[in-house]
């Protein structure tokens, strides 16, 4: 008790403490280890250590035929697998100069946007969980499960689909599944309003996220941000609008950009809010796609043996950003080189820059708002 009169003098020495956050920390969304150099409650530096989930995707791809690579793509970003398959299939189709049947294109758009909703619901729910709100997480997972049930009926798997193939899709959508998708969109619209009202303008949530982790636009471009992270920084850039693929130019939807309604443009809140509004846009696209679903073939343009030649870089707009496939094919059965440009990998490289000088608790809110999936970072 005699120490209570202790006065701080100029000789008082403090020391930086190194804290290892992860690789098993629930807020790192997987196996990410962040080495935090902390000065009391303030973070001085944050070094991400990657590679805990490295499964040698690029090396495997060089030893597999083209159809064999598709299931490996699923396992990169395991919460948005449909989107991951599409990029690889499009790269192969571009080299083969294949014409994809109209029905296959529309089915692709339906499953892609359903998958985007499922992925954003996971991002929404876990971000709420990181910020201390348990209820949105339960609601989000309840609704996500409904999407996964639909996928289970379409292709037999909840998470790792192997559904989109070079040349089309593997199975047709039956009338029953289309009705279920219609029921889901009708059901989900009011649910989404409710989810939105639970978290978006909650004052605790806003205090934790607004004005935290600001990425100015020039920094975002320099760090190669894409997808909701880039749009959260205020750039009107969506590949579905700017470089349409799969017939996205036929659908009427808006690009969601960070508006700075709370906080400033480019902070965690704006990145989060872009994702919430994108779910509404995805539902718009699904409804339009179901209405204009034509009859016809679901596969075509690609023969049984796939032997492309040439090199191509194809990007698609995935829920986490622009996933790029740099495919170099030498005319044999296997890819010569396949390089994946992962949006999460680029986003996580910004962590050190964002975390210098913030409070310790804000690190969680910054990692959550970048919405990384470690399966895609490490590949």
């Amino acid at each position: 008790m005699e120490n209570t009169n202790l006065k701080l003098n100029s000789n008082f020495r403090t020391q930086n403490l190194t804290i290892n956050m992860g690789p098993q920390h629930p807020s790192t969304h997987g196996v990410l280890r962040v080495e935090l150099i902390s000065d009391g409650e303030i973070v001085r530096a944050a070094y991400p250590h990657l590679g805990y989930l490295h499964r040698c995707f690029e090396k495997h791809a060089e030893n597999l035929d083209y159809l064999g690579v598709v299931p490996f793509c699923d396992r990169m970003d395991y919460v948005a697998s449909m989107n991951q398959e599409l990029g690889f299939c499009m790269a192969v189709e571009k080299l083969l100069q294949a014409e994809i049947p109209e029905r296959a294109q529309v089915i692709r758009v339906i499953v892609l946007e359903l998958n985007r909703i499922a992925s954003h619901l996971l991002a929404f729910g876990t971000y709420g969980l990181d910020m201390g709100g348990f209820t949105p997480f339960l609601f989000a997972f309840r609704d996500r499960e409904k999407v996964l049930r639909i996928f289970e009926e379409i292709c037999g798997a909840r998470l790792l689909y192997n559904y989109i193939r070079p040349g089309g899709v593997s199975r047709d959508l039956s009338e029953g599944i289309i009705n279920k998708i219609k029921d889901f969109t009708a059901y989900f619209k009011p649910q989404l309003d409710e989810l939105d009202s639970l978290l978006t303008h909650n004052s605790i949530f806003v205090n934790r996220t607004a004005n935290v982790g600001i990425v100015p636009l020039d920094l975002a471009i320099s760090y190669g941000f894409s997808g909701p992270n880039l749009r959260g920084s205020g750039l009107n850039w969506d590949l579905r609008k700017q470089a349409p693929y799969c017939g996205y130019e036929k659908y009427d939807f808006d690009v969601c950009i960070g508006q700075g309604e709370r906080g400033v443009i480019g902070d965690c809140w704006n990145r989060y809010e872009v994702r919430v509004r994108e779910m509404y846009e995805s539902m718009k696209i699904i409804n339009q796609a179901i209405e204009q679903l034509p009859e016809g073939e679901i596969k075509g343009g690609v023969g049984k043996t796939i032997k492309p030649q040439g090199e191509v870089y194809v990007t698609t707009e995935c829920p986490r950003g622009e996933l790029g496939f740099y495919l170099i094919a030498d005319g044999s059965k296997k890819p010569y080189r396949l390089k994946i440009n992962s949006p999460c990998f680029n986003a996580i490289s910004c962590l050190d820059e964002l975390c210098g000088g913030v409070m310790l608790a804000d690190v969680v809110s910054i990692i959550g708002s970048l919405d990384i999936v470690l399966g895609e970072v490490d590949r």
């Binding site: 530096a45 320099s222 870089y313 390089k339 590949r379």
Partner: protein, 201 residues
């Protein structure tokens, strides 16, 4: 690399970031030949060292024949208002070991680094490549121009052993720091043991 207070020193020096795209201007996509003409107009010496590698299908590429001029080339591609590639999408290594075909003609024997650059302003994409010595691949780092290159180049070193000079934090990223060999080289043989553990194949 630490100062007296124990905080690791930040050695991150960056040029002025690339231009933020303006959508008021109408996009003016260039072909490879037009872009090369622009390069020749601004830097004739550099322009004479760049050739276009045409692909029948897919994306064509520029090959910078002198590795020391790579940084200049990337900088010009980034800053020139007509090309204005403000986004570096990917840094990819590609290994071409020496191959002798049936007629005894040797080809390959180099490592290639491909920089895929994209212009948010003009919506065109260019691939700039440089061929390096396969035994000692060394090239200048572009981290001073694009921060995304920081992790991308580390991954490239991790997988191919390409040394990027001037990189602020140059070490392995995905593999453990004491791993031997560079796995994405075509002649890579995985070690039988790693720290006393059998490596499964």
């Amino acid at each position: 690399m630490t100062n007296e207070s124990g905080i690791p020193k930040r050695t991150f020096v960056i040029d002025k970031p690339a231009m933020v795209p303006s959508f008021r201007k109408k996009p003016n996509p260039l072909t490879e030949e037009q872009a090369l003409d622009v390069v020749k107009k601004h830097n004739p010496e550099l322009g004479s060292k760049i050739i276009i590698e045409k692909q029948e299908i897919g994306d064509s590429a520029f090959i910078v024949q002198d590795g020391e001029m790579l940084l200049d080339a990337i900088k010009l591609f980034r800053d020139d208002p007509e090309i204005s590639c403000n986004q570096l999408r990917v840094v990819a290594g590609i290994d071409y070991p020496k191959v002798v075909d049936d007629e005894g003609v040797a080809s390959g024997d180099f490592i290639q680094v491909a920089y895929v650059m994209f212009s948010l302003t003009h919506k065109h994409q260019f691939t700039v490549k440089v061929n390096l010595n396969r035994e000692k691949p060394v090239v200048d780092s572009v981290t001073s121009l694009f921060r995304v290159a920081n992790f991308q180049e580390r991954e490239c070193y991790d997988m191919f052993g390409i040394v990027f000079q001037g990189h602020p934090n140059f070490k392995r990223i995905l593999l453990p720091s004491d791993w031997t060999g560079y796995p994405l080289k075509k002649d890579y043989q995985p070690p039988e043991q790693y720290n006393g553990m059998k490596v499964p194949l």
